[in-house]
């Protein structure tokens, strides 16, 4: 680790001011950033922790909308987002207790790891990412592996989820990291179905429109018969071929649907 200064502001205003410093970077739970710093892969001069800002942490249900503060740790979502059970279950399946007690939804989304779980929930739910300057629809937020619509100095404040009629996330664990080797988030709304796939594509999380169309027509596992993802553009590495990942995405989607009917 290179040395850096650490700020722990307690208000959003103070955090935004601190982030104006050159090379400053927000710190969520540090579960991604700190390992990168330890390996000396990044050298920010200043980290601004968002963990101590009460406004950024917490879960709020209003009508059919669940709002989660950006600095809310996974464990809290797992334990307190009962209004959106599929989301709570997804959060409870991330990493291990240490990761869940520290890692935050804001950090996960800003990082947009192609194998992460939250991006699938956000895209699959059609959530809205609220930043300090604007609101970004999930469909416009994820821009490929580790890339998002966030501008320099822009931070995620909260995420607004419309709670679907039913939803389910099925994740096939990566044998080593236990991120998603393939994950499918299926959400059913009146009149529409959204399917988001993570862990699979070189472009990061994406919506599987063929599956959405098939399931919108008839919501049943066998509606997906004959619907499959092409291996082109899917991740291929020592843990699985692109064909395997494309196949797994189909299996996970079917299993998610099966769990919902």
């Amino acid at each position: 680790m290179y040395s850096f200064d650490l700020d722990r502001p307690v208000t959003l205003e103070a955090a935004l001011a601190a982030l104006k410093a050159e090379d400053a970077q927000p710190l969520g739970g540090g579960q991604t950033l700190i390992p990168a710093l330890k390996q000396r892969l990044a050298a920010p001069s200043r980290l601004v922790s968002l963990a101590a800002i009460p406004d950024l942490c917490g879960i709020d249900l209003e009508g059919e909308t669940l709002t989660i503060g950006a600095a809310t740790p996974h464990a809290m979502v797992a334990g307190q987002a009962g209004a959106y059970p599929a989301l709570a279950a997804l959060a409870g399946g991330i990493g291990d207790p240490a990761v869940r007690n520290r890692g935050t939804i804001g950090g996960s989304l800003a990082n947009n790891d192609p194998s992460a779980c939250y991006p699938a929930a956000v895209l699959g739910s059609g959530a809205v990412i609220c930043t300090n300057i604007r609101e970004i629809a999930a469909d416009d937020f994820f821009e490929g592996m580790f890339a998002t619509a966030l501008e320099d100095g822009e931070i995620i404040i909260r995420v607004r989820f419309p709670v679907p009629q039913a939803a389910c996330y099925r994740k096939f664990d990566h044998p080593a990291s236990r991120f998603a080797l393939a994950g499918a988030f299926v959400a059913r709304f009146p009149g529409s179905v959204r399917v988001a796939i993570t862990g699979v594509s070189e472009e990061g999380v994406f919506r599987w429109s063929e599956a959405e169309a098939a399931l919108s027509a008839r919501f049943a596992p066998d509606a997906l018969e004959g619907v499959s993802l092409p291996p082109e553009g899917m991740i291929e590495d020592l843990h699985g071929s692109s064909a395997y990942r494309a196949h797994l995405a189909g299996v996970m989607t079917r299993r998610a649907v099966a769990a919902m009917v």
Partner: protein
């Protein structure tokens, strides 16, 4: 009725209190006044000509004391190899130099090029980034067979090729084996890979060098399984320090699994630099650094052929293996694919003719050496896999096929140079059949099928040669060391005992089980016995802990020393009671005269030894302290039978281990709980190999599985609850305790059980074309095999 103390009791591990409460003292917990910190600059390329190292910028960085490259290591020798293998033509193996810091070339990613010593670890690391090696990249040698091509690039230019040795065993059997295979009723052939593993002990390696200018003594604190071996190798071959001026301390050590047997460059460097700089020098390995600097394990590519007659009797066995040595010869590397592997190819069976060929190959990868089981897992895996395949091909039940070929009469001299002293392979198999409920398998399979899962059952046997090893024998085989153990038992005036052992404990529970042995022999409370190990300054010469040898060899030395203590104590007791020494009996810690009611307590005798007021000084010396060396006259041969049940998800290829049963014959059991734990850990490691672990290099020689994000270690939820039984006991015939060793069994016996089970599941599930899948059986591999 289970015993509650002494030999056979499940005494709680006394060392666990400090380990579990954070009170252990590991090497990294040691900080010496004035210590400086070392950071190694390592090659980032697999193969290249090292044309120079620019250290000028690094030297000017804050806190830097000195930057060392190879030219600064004046008088420092290369790292020695402890075993010389003779090839099948009678020539010694090719043995390249192994410099402490790279000279002329870099030969693997992680090869140390320079070292920065600075005031703090961070400063050392900052400056290490400023060191600029000038490397002209060369094409890396990575493929084992390709490395032996005529025109292959050479890892070591001074050698004639990348071949370390071409070993044939037993060379005189070669033609007979070929003939038997050519004419046999049935021959089963299997090509397989025993993949490269990274040991991943919980505690990374650490070394601290210290030099005392007042006495001229050097001390090395290090994470070692065998401090005396490091003292000998480093003192005699690398630094030229006589043993009486060098002390090596291996305090609490957090696991080794073989990787901490070897003498590493960092140990020699820290010891050297402490003297050169006049300050203690400490190095603590980063986890990612350990992936590319700890010796790796396994890495064999094998073709095995088993010839059988029409009744399924084994006629002959022939194997051809390419074994990866990596870029240099690590301390015991040459012995692993040869003497620890070829000698086990008979397994538990009466195969009359065996020929093993091993070509050891240099590549631009991290050196490979012994890893839990060392050679024996490789032997067991190929043998038990080929037997399973033969059973399937010939339509014989796999257990029945094994039974037909079991060795049943002992001692049994195998055609591969070892003699099994004792065993009962039917007994462990009977026990396995009983515990694993094979009769209920079909019902369990039907239940799995109802859930869409394919269930399979895998069974195998194993045998290992442990209690390493008779010195006269290993000397003939090329070992450049003896493999005895030593112990000193010191009885204090007030009766407490200190046992100083040359053996080392880094998780095995020596402090508990060794104390049980001594307490049992004298009839004392275990808490009166303290076990001291790990410091060459206060323990007798020992060869260390590996090869499941601690109790069989180190424990035997302790027994011998304790016998001497008892003999002397009886003389003292005889004097005190005015009786003849032959009439003295020792029971429950008291001496009595046979046939009388005269007795003296243990403490009376020990006190008399140290306060010899009334004492036969003309006949015996005062004091009560004895040393014994023990050199075994054979290996020990633990053996057993394992069963594994799995469920395969045909949609994803994921394998779930449903149950695992191990029946082992370890001879006498001193502490059943510790034995259970050793077997559990071994199975976890074996199933880790079978299901998850694999070191992978890309075509440039970069380690792709260089962190836990890509190198999959087994976790608790990957494994079922194991059923372990060691009630079948045929005590070893040639050591005083009758013990055989249990540390490696689980890692040796479990991989074939898992693979056999998965192949069984797939065959029963309609995938009859699948005869083998290479480890690890990851979901993607199993799925691909089913396509």
């Amino acid at each position: 009725m289970p015993k509650d103390h002494g030999i056979g009791a499940s005494s709680k591990r006394r060392e666990d209190i400090r380990f579990l409460t954070g009170k252990g003292r590991y090497t990294d917990d040691i900080n010496l006044p004035g210590q400086a910190h070392a950071c190694f600059v390592r090659s980032q390329v697999a193969h290249g000509r090292l044309k120079g190292v620019d250290i000028s910028a690094a030297q000017k960085m804050p806190g830097v004391i000195r930057v060392f490259t190879a030219i600064d290591l004046e008088g420092v020798g290369g790292l020695p190899c402890g075993w010389q293998v003779t090839d099948r033509h009678g020539n010694p193996m090719q043995e390249p130099g192994h410099p402490v810091l790279a000279t002329g070339k870099v030969r693997h990613v992680g090869d140390p090029i320079a070292v920065v010593v600075a005031e703090t670890p961070e400063q050392a690391r900052d400056a290490a980034e400023a060191v600029q090696p000038d490397i002209e990249e060369l094409p890396p040698v990575l493929d084992l067979r390709g490395a032996l091509a005529e025109d292959a690039v050479k890892v070591h230019e001074e050698l004639s090729s990348n071949l370390c040795y071409d070993w044939g065993f037993v060379e005189n059997n070669r033609e007979d084996v070929d003939k038997a295979i050519a004419t046999a009723h049935h021959v089963t052939t299997l090509d397989l890979v025993n993949q490269r593993l990274i040991p991943n002990a919980m505690e990374p390696r650490v070394a601290i060098g210290d030099f005392n200018p007042a006495t001229g003594d050097s001390t090395l604190y290090t994470t070692s399984q065998n401090p005396h071996v490091i003292r000998l190798l480093m003192g005699a071959f690398v630094l030229g320090i006589p043993e009486h001026k060098l002390r090596v301390v291996a305090p609490d050590v957090g696991g080794g699994f073989g990787s901490k047997i070897f003498h590493y460059a960092e140990e020699a460097f820290c010891t050297f630099a402490a003297k050169a700089l006049g300050r203690p020098v400490k190095w603590t390995c980063q986890r990612s650094e350990s992936f590319m600097s700890d010796a790796h394990g396994r890495d064999h590519v094998t073709k095995i052929e088993l010839a059988l007659d029409k009744n399924g009797r084994f006629l002959a066995l022939r194997t051809q293996t390419h074994a990866n040595m990596g870029a240099y010869l690590s301390t015991f590397a040459p012995s692993v694919p040869t003497w620890l592997h070829g000698t086990l190819m008979a397994g538990n069976y009466r195969t009359p003719l065996i020929y093993v060929n091993v070509k050891a190959v240099f590549t631009n990868t991290v050196p490979v050496d012994a890893y839990r089981g060392a050679g024996r897992p490789e032997a067991t895996f190929q043998l038990e896999r080929v037997i399973d395949k033969a059973a399937r091909e010939m339509g014989i039940d796999p257990i029945e096929l094994r039974r037909r070929n079991f060795v049943t009469e002992f001692p049994y001299a195998t055609p591969v140079a070892v003699e099994y002293d004792t065993g009962d392979y039917h007994a462990t198999m009977d026990k396995l059949v009983e515990i694993a409920d094979f009769a209920g398998f079909e019902a369990r399979r039907a239940k799995s099928a109802a859930r869409g899962k394919l269930r399979g059952l895998g069974v195998n046997c194993y045998i290992e040669a442990c209690g390493i090893a008779p010195s006269h024998l290993v000397g003939q085989l090329g070992a450049r060391a003896g493999l005895y153990e030593a112990a000193t038992v010191r009885v204090n005036a007030t009766g407490g005992l200190v046992v100083m052992t040359g053996s080392h404990s880094h998780g095995q529970g020596h402090e508990t089980s060794f104390a049980q042995v001594v307490a049992d022999m004298i009839g004392l409370d275990e808490n009166m016995v303290e076990i001291v190990h790990g410091d060459t300054a206060n323990t007798p010469m020992g060869m260390g802990t590996y090869g499941s040898r601690s109790l069989a060899v180190g424990g035997s030395a302790i027994v011998r020393a304790t016998e001497k203590i008892i003999a002397k104590a009886k003389k003292i007791a005889a004097h005190l009671m005015e009786a003849a020494p032959e009439d003295i009996e020792l029971k429950n810690g008291a001496f009595s005269v046979a046939g009388t009611d005269k007795s003296v307590a243990w403490g009376d005798v020990t006190l008399a030894a140290y306060v010899p007021h009334n004492y036969p000084l003309e006949e015996i010396e005062p004091g009560l302290e004895e040393t014994a060396f023990y050199d075994p006259n054979n290996f020990t041969f633990p053996a057993g039978a394992y069963a594994c049940e799995v469920e395969v998800d045909p949609e994803t290829g994921k394998v779930e281990v449903c149950s695992f049963v191990a029946t082992d014959d370890f001879g006498t059991i001193v502490n059943p709980m510790i034995v259970d734990g050793q077997v559990h850990g071994g199975i976890a490691q074996g199933l880790g190999q079978a299901l998850l672990e694999r070191a992978v290099y890309d075509e440039y020689g970069q380690l792709l599985s260089g962190s836990y994000m890509d190198y999959a270690m087994p976790r608790a939820d990957d494994l079922p609850s194991f059923t372990v039984d060691h009630s079948c006991q045929t005590p070893c015939t040639h050591n005083p305790l009758g013990v055989k060793g249990c540390g490696e069994a689980g890692a040796i016996g479990s991989p074939p059980a898992l693979v056999n089970a998965v192949v069984d599941a797939l065959n029963r599930g309609g995938y009859e074309h699948i005869t083998h899948i290479d480890m690890p059986l990851t979901p993607s591999r199993v799925w691909a095999a089913m396509r």
